[in-house]
């Protein structure tokens, strides 16, 4: 069976090409001077530099976390370059028209709508290439609605009060090893502010691309939904195929003020390494949202990429009656390792959370769900429902579930359900006997397994996610 599946899982990573642009990459190594250099390149104010340095000094005293169910050689943080920008971006183009067409072509080739007149123009895009944002579409239209959507670098200049108030408010500088590293060296990412009572008129999205070799990408995203506002945000990521491992250490902070609603969707397709486990991105990410009274934060993620994933999009349900949701599909193949899940921290009364996690493991990969549901003493009447399902393809892979439940309030209710199943010979034979070829059969079975999560994605993304799964599974049948 395993052999049979393998034959269908020969995956081709479609986003694995390199854009040929001249880049300015600072020499490898990390120290205070490097942080000063990054800050200077971004023309940052003094307070921002101080904030970074404080994070760096904290990081120096921290240890890399060891508890995740993943194995990888310790990255050499002195061998990485922490900043790389296409040379043409040094002149800070003022509009999309001034951006190097080669850069825009990169995104076009990835299927990202970079021109506002395009049909799929219901989505505004911020394009982050290595360490810089190369452009953001529909800024004017959004501005008319009062919505701020720009790169975090620009926000530091243009909206310093908002940045000062909220940056690090959900994920403090010294939250964990990788969050501290990110706080010290973060390069670019998106900044979103939705004013009171505004429903964002279009989907917002950021597309992250790592292009340069031997560099790390340190994305920083901050989304603030003011009282009674609503926003849906999408994130996508890819990188070229390279033999060496590259580091992506991101921090995403969401703030949902009273009665606000944030929906954050990710399709993560970083280069996963080749079939022998060589190369690929190390994806160490801290994502967390703070939910105030009656607000709602919903995380949906489809994780198909990266050699190693360490990621737990979480919700702090601080306000009474706030809602946290986590919908996840994590697919691993070849030698990929994923340790992913969520934390739902219930502080307020009548807070509710839902966790639906689907793990799919193929070939020699290891896929773990790790989740914490915490009911604090004040979480009167809080409820959580967790469902973790694992699907195995072949017999060489591993699926693991690590649920942690801490309840300090007797009125809180926590439910947990978990299942493990296999794509069976019987299912494959039924499909084939009805004329369906094995690749299509596996992709149909896997898509069926993920249905509860896909239906949470915005429509264009749901289609893309299904296709991505199909590509990632090519050659994985067993």
């Amino acid at each position: 069976m395993s052999e049979q599946f393998d034959q269908y899982l020969k995956s081709e990573y479609a986003a694995g090409w390199v854009t040929d642009v001249e880049s300015l990459t600072i020499p490898p190594g990390l120290n205070e001077d490097v942080i000063r250099l990054i800050s200077a390149k971004k023309h940052e104010p003094e307070w921002m530099l101080e904030w970074r340095l404080k994070a760096y000094r904290g990081w120096l005293e921290m240890q890399e976390p060891k508890w995740a169910h993943v194995k990888y050689p310790k990255p050499d943080f002195q061998a990485l370059s922490y900043y790389s920008s296409p040379k043409s971006m040094e002149d800070r183009p003022q509009s999309l028209d001034e951006v190097d067409p080669e850069l825009l072509r990169t995104y076009e080739k990835l299927g990202i709508p970079v021109h506002e007149q395009e049909v799929l123009a219901g989505v505004a895009v911020d394009m982050v290439f290595d360490s810089v944002s190369v452009g953001t579409t529909f800024r004017q239209k959004l501005k008319d609605a009062g919505v701020i959507f720009c790169s975090i670098s620009e926000a530091v200049h243009e909206y310093p009060e908002l940045v000062k108030k909220y940056l690090g408010s959900v994920v403090p500088q010294k939250d964990n090893f990788y969050a501290a590293l990110n706080s010290a060296v973060f390069s670019d990412g998106s900044f979103v502010y939705i004013p009171k009572g505004v429903r964002c008129p279009m989907e917002l999205s950021t597309y992250f691309r790592i292009n340069e070799a031997k560099t790390g990408q340190f994305e920083r995203t901050l989304i603030i939904a003011d009282e009674g506002s609503q926003v849906s945000y999408l994130e996508g990521c890819t990188a070229p195929m390279r033999d060496e491992n590259q580091l992506h250490a991101a921090v995403v902070e969401l703030v949902a003020l009273d009665d606000a609603d944030i929906k954050y969707s990710t399709v993560q397709n970083w280069y996963p390494g080749d079939e022998n486990g060589k190369g690929g991105i190390y994806n160490f990410v801290t994502k967390r949202g703070l939910a105030m009274n009656r607000s709602k934060i919903s995380w949906t993620q489809v994780e198909t990429g990266s050699a190693v994933t360490w990621k737990y999009p979480s919700c702090i349900l601080k306000g009474d009656d706030s809602i946290g949701e986590f919908y996840s599909v994590a697919l691993t193949s070849n030698y990929q390792q994923a340790d992913t899940g969520t934390k739902m921290i219930h502080l307020g009364k009548n807070t509710r959370s839902t966790i639906i996690a689907k793990g799919i493991s193929a070939k020699n990969s290891e896929n773990s769900y790790r989740g914490l549901v915490k009911m604090n003493p004040g979480a009167e009447g809080a409820r959580n429902y967790t469902q973790c399902d694992s699907l195995l393809i072949g017999d060489q892979c591993g699926a693991h579930t690590f649920p942690y439940i801490e309840s300090k309030n007797p009125t809180a209710v926590v439910e947990h359900e978990a299942t493990t199943s296999k794509v069976s010979d019987d299912q494959m034979f039924l499909c084939q006997q009805r004329g369906i070829d094995p690749e299509k059969a596996v992709s149909m079975i896997v898509n069926g397994f993920c249905k509860d999560v896909f239906k949470e994605l915005p429509m264009e993304f749901a289609v893309e996610a299904g296709k991505l799964l199909e590509v990632s599974l090519e050659g994985a049948v067993g």
């Binding site: 199943s421 034979f429 039924l430 499909c431 006997q433 009805r434 004329g435 070829d437 397994f449």
Partner: protein, 249 residues
């Protein structure tokens, strides 16, 4: 239509089919009967090309093509249909999606375009009615939580949509009460025509009261040891399989 010569097959190193011969002409209905372990289900699975069934000898010609040389999905595409004894569940995949993928795959193999969703839904609803299944049945996961009778009617629905040339019914009567059996048998009988052939594999003659065969074969130890008409099944019913073994011996 189908010509099986000296077919031999192994499952996990155990010989199950041991020199089986059978010829099926267009429009004929052949019943294969035999005691448990005779190789009845194996025959269906080998003909359908299931993995893990190793053919060690013999030939099978299906409509002028070498059946044993084809992948399982190619056999289905060329018109061979196996109705399962225990249809498996595929959670989360709707029956509609599954049926359309199947019909489209078979159409594609004949060089036909995929059906539009609208046309397909219309067709699927009509066929549902014919096998007495409610329309919301199409929205449910493939065999997910279906009763035994619903699973068998779902097999029949697939058969109607795919319009195969040769249908192999693998112990279709197992797990069915009389009413459900009647519905399934009516469906099968409605599909009978001068071009379409059936191989009905069953342990009990009861099914053959509903689906009346042209020929009855008795399978024992991997070969057909006796063939006859409809009346052979009745003899078996009266005397049991032991009678044949004695007679042949």
């Amino acid at each position: 239509m189908l010509n099986i010569k000296n077919l031999q097959a192994k499952v996990e190193e155990k010989t199950i089919l041991n020199g089986l011969n059978l010829e099926v002409k267009p429009g004929e209905v052949h019943a294969i009967m035999g005691p448990n372990g005779a190789g009845k289900s194996t025959l269906g699975h080998v003909l359908a090309g299931r993995d893990g069934y190793e053919v060690t000898g013999g030939e099978v010609d299906f409509e002028g093509r070498d059946l044993l040389d084809m992948e399982a999905e190619e056999r289905a595409q060329s018109g061979l249909f196996l109705a399962f004894q225990y249809p498996v569940e595929i959670p989360g995949v709707s029956n509609m999606e599954f049926l359309k993928a199947s019909v489209d795959a078979i159409r594609a193999s004949r060089g036909q375009d995929a059906m539009t969703s609208m046309d397909f839904i219309k067709l699927a609803r009509e066929r549902c009615k014919a096998v007495d299944l409610p329309q919301d049945f199409l929205k449910r996961g493939v065999n997910e939580g279906f009763s035994g009778g619903e699973k068998k009617r779902n097999e029949l629905l697939q058969m109607m949509l795919l319009e195969p040339k040769l249908c192999i019914l693998d112990e279709t009567d197992s797990g069915l009460d009389i009413d459900a059996l009647q519905v399934v048998a009516d469906g099968v009988n409605a599909l009978r025509n001068p071009e379409r052939s059936f191989i009905v594999v069953t342990h009990y003659q009861r099914l053959l009261d509903y689906i009346v065969p042209d020929y009855v074969h008795v399978l024992s130890k991997g070969r057909i040891i006796k063939s006859g008409g409809r009346e052979l099944a009745l003899e078996l019913e009266k005397h049991g399989y032991g009678w044949i073994d004695e007679e042949v011996a």
